[in-house]
């Protein structure tokens, strides 16, 4: 059960990245390659707030959300908005990711920094497996986040507008939706999310400048498995990737961990090219 907990916790971290990718995808029809780097910065800001400045965890969470949200907003203004061709966005957001990682390296170097978890760092036994409290919290937070965001998308005016934008940007604009403003807010929100999640990601992964690179690819795999644009798909994708990695490392060998994940990805995409939770759309020609 310890391995299952480990797999679920890592899968939850991947899912958090994938949720960020998804929100930007829904609002802008593109990917923010810097999402994982924003999450890395969130871990560092959390470290700074809790360890260096000795602030209360909730204050640090709010501060990190504001700071990383502002960085994401800046990224949208510099790396997204001025770009006319959608395809170039992949390059500009990748550039933003490299800049963020470089800045983290310059400030904090390559060493890992321990980030204490506000609910304790002692190992506990749950359902017959050993687990850190932060690992349970990560799994719960991701589930709650997906449920909350899904309900928000279905029942709030902003959420409905965003879903409308994701289906047909022009039609949404004709119905009075300020698509640029909503796209900007959605982008900034992924930064807010990445900052606030530093409270949970930092204690699990440590604050380390290479974290963005470790998370970026797996976040995409989770997205592809769950389906682009599907929030609930990120939950399933995270669970599959996390457990596949953990179980393959335990029972086949660590060399097969990534291989197993990508074999599962290929099999799922062959069976269902849109991912597990996204429906194929029919088009009249």
């Amino acid at each position: 059960m310890t391995i299952i907990w480990s797999g679920m916790a890592i899968g939850a971290v991947y899912a958090l990245v994938a949720i960020g990718y998804n929100i930007v995808f829904l609002s802008q029809k593109t990917f923010n390659f810097a999402q994982a780097s924003l999450m890395m910065l969130g871990a560092f800001i959390t470290y700074l707030g809790i360890v260096v400045l000795g602030l209360h965890w909730w204050l640090v969470g709010i501060g990190a959300a504001i700071i990383i949200g502002a960085i994401a907003a800046l990224e949208e203004r510099i790396a997204i908005r001025p770009v006319k061709d959608m395809h170039n966005l992949l390059v500009t957001t990748l550039g933003a990711s490299i800049i963020l990682q470089g800045v983290a390296q310059l400030i904090w170097g390559g060493e890992p920094y321990r980030v204490p978890f506000f609910a304790g760092d002692g190992v506990v036994e749950v359902l017959g497996g050993n687990v850190y409290p932060v690992e349970i919290a990560l799994v719960l937070v991701v589930i709650l986040l997906v449920v909350a965001l899904t309900q928000f998308a279905k029942h709030s005016l902003v959420g409905i507008a965003l879903m409308g934008m994701s289906e047909n940007r022009e039609a949404a604009q004709l119905r009075g939706v300020d698509v640029r403003r909503f796209a900007f807010l959605a982008f900034a929100f992924t930064g807010v999310l990445a900052g606030a999640m530093g409270l949970f990601v930092g204690p699990k992964t440590y604050a380390v400048a290479t974290l963005g690179a470790s998370l970026a690819l797996k976040g995409f795999v989770v997205l592809a498995i769950g389906g682009f644009g599907s929030l609930s798909g990120t939950l399933a994708g995270g669970l599959i990737v996390g457990l596949a990695e953990a179980l393959a490392s335990r029972y086949i060998g660590a060399d097969f961990a990534n291989l197993s994940v990508f074999i599962i990805l290929v099999v799922i995409l062959m069976a269902k090219p849109t991912g597990l939770f996204t429906r194929r759309k029919e088009r009249t020609v």
Binding site: T210, A213, R250, A254, A257
Partner: protein
């Protein structure tokens, strides 16, 4: 054009151009690089600068003072080659070049140094850097992975362990560590109950550790550096695995284990079973007056950003002095011939490594197991564990 082209390869050694001037030594280091490379370079350059002060105070080399010139190559081979070529084309040939690493820089600059017949000391070994047939004037300063692993065997046997589990990273050195530990331990009569690698980008090592645990080993031998080490220690704690862990020099070089909470894990249950393999010089010994004087000088000269394992350049200046005084020459061929002489190596009285044991057929140091010590994590002060 022809004259210019020849200038780089035929200019005489420093001191010959200007017989009354100081001897020039160039030190390459990635001071402007990112992260750990910058810390390593800072230590390496500081060691070289401190050794120049010490050697000059001791009368210099062949009666001449030494002048050091530091090139910040940003740990980038292209920058290193460009800046080195600039210096050489200016016609002022150094008596020696010291490369602070990484091996990619060594790979790029060694052919130039060989072509120009310049003695070099190198911290970042490559596949051929210690081969006199390829790089006749280069001497590697870092011991081989095999030397380090040989050092583990007596320690494991002294602790009466028989079944050994090995966990290593996926870097080239990590893979080599995994391969050589298995063969060396087996040849030494130990049983390798499991040998697992991990992806350096992995965020959780619990599955690999549980797999190793299932082999019921007596001791875990670990190669790990940086964030992966943090995940390994987390995994061991999470599994509640009460096993002695012996880490290699990469473990010792990770600042996390030498830093107290909340930033690090020093003094926590995560490191209570951990010992690490380090050079004798990396452990503070109040009785070792010569080494302590060298460390004091380094601390006064500049930054010691990492453990003393990166301070080999302190030794290389003394090796240069001993070789030059034995050969009574600054010519690279004479210096190289002198450096493989046991008496010269002993006369150098090196501090970071007691004796380098360079040989005619291998310009790499050979460390005997007794040159290593195994210590518990402690605070790192001026590059030494206390």
């Amino acid at each position: 054009m022809a004259l210019t082209g020849c200038a780089g390869s035929t200019s005489s050694a420093a001191g010959e151009n200007n017989p009354d001037g100081p001897l020039k030594v160039i030190v390459l280091g990635g001071i402007g690089a990112e992260g750990v490379l910058a810390n390593n370079a800072a230590t390496s350059v500081t060691a070289a600068q401190a050794s120049v002060a010490a050697v000059n105070a001791d009368g210099g080399i062949l009666g001449k003072q030494i002048e050091i010139e530091v090139i910040d190559d940003r740990a980038d081979p292209t920058v290193a080659v460009t800046k080195l070529r600039e210096k050489l084309s200016a016609g002022n040939k150094p008596v020696a070049v010291m490369n602070s690493g990484p091996s990619t820089v060594a790979e790029a600059i060694l052919p130039i140094l060989t072509q120009n017949k310049i003695l070099s000391f190198n911290i970042g070994p490559t596949a051929t850097s210690a081969d006199p047939g390829v790089s006749p004037y280069n001497f590697d300063l870092s011991p081989s992975v095999q030397d380090y692993i040989d050092g583990f065997v007596p320690q494991i046997k002294d602790q009466k362990h028989q079944n050994v589990a090995v966990l290593h990273g996926s870097s080239a050195t990590g893979e080599l560590f995994g391969k050589l530990t298995e063969s060396t331990f087996a040849a030494s009569g130990l049983t390798v109950s499991g040998n697992q690698g991990y992806d350096n980008a992995s965020l959780d090592m619990t599955p690999q550790l549980e797999r190793l645990k299932s082999g019921n080993p007596d001791v875990l031998v670990l190669d790990s550096y940086g964030a992966p080490l943090a995940y390994v220690l987390q995994g061991i704690e999470k599994l509640g695995w009460d096993i002695p862990v012996i880490g290699n020099n990469s473990v010792a070089a990770t600042s996390l284990i030498a830093t107290e909470p909340p930033t690090g894990v020093l003094g926590t249950s995560q490191v209570e079973n951990l010992t690490m393999q380090v050079f004798q010089s990396t452990k503070y010994d109040p009785k070792n007056e010569k080494l302590n004087a060298a460390v004091k000088l380094m601390a006064e000269t500049g930054t010691i950003g990492s453990s003393l394992i990166l301070a080999y350049n302190y030794d290389s200046m003394w090796l240069l002095k001993a070789a030059a005084e034995s050969a009574n020459s600054l010519d690279a061929e004479s210096l190289s011939a002198a450096l493989v002489d046991n008496k010269v190596q002993e006369a150098a009285n090196t501090q970071m490594i007691p004796k380098y044991s360079f040989a005619k057929d291998a310009h790499a140091p050979h460390m005997a197991p007794e040159h290593f010590v195994f210590i518990s994590p402690s605070k790192l002060v001026n590059g030494q564990f206390q």
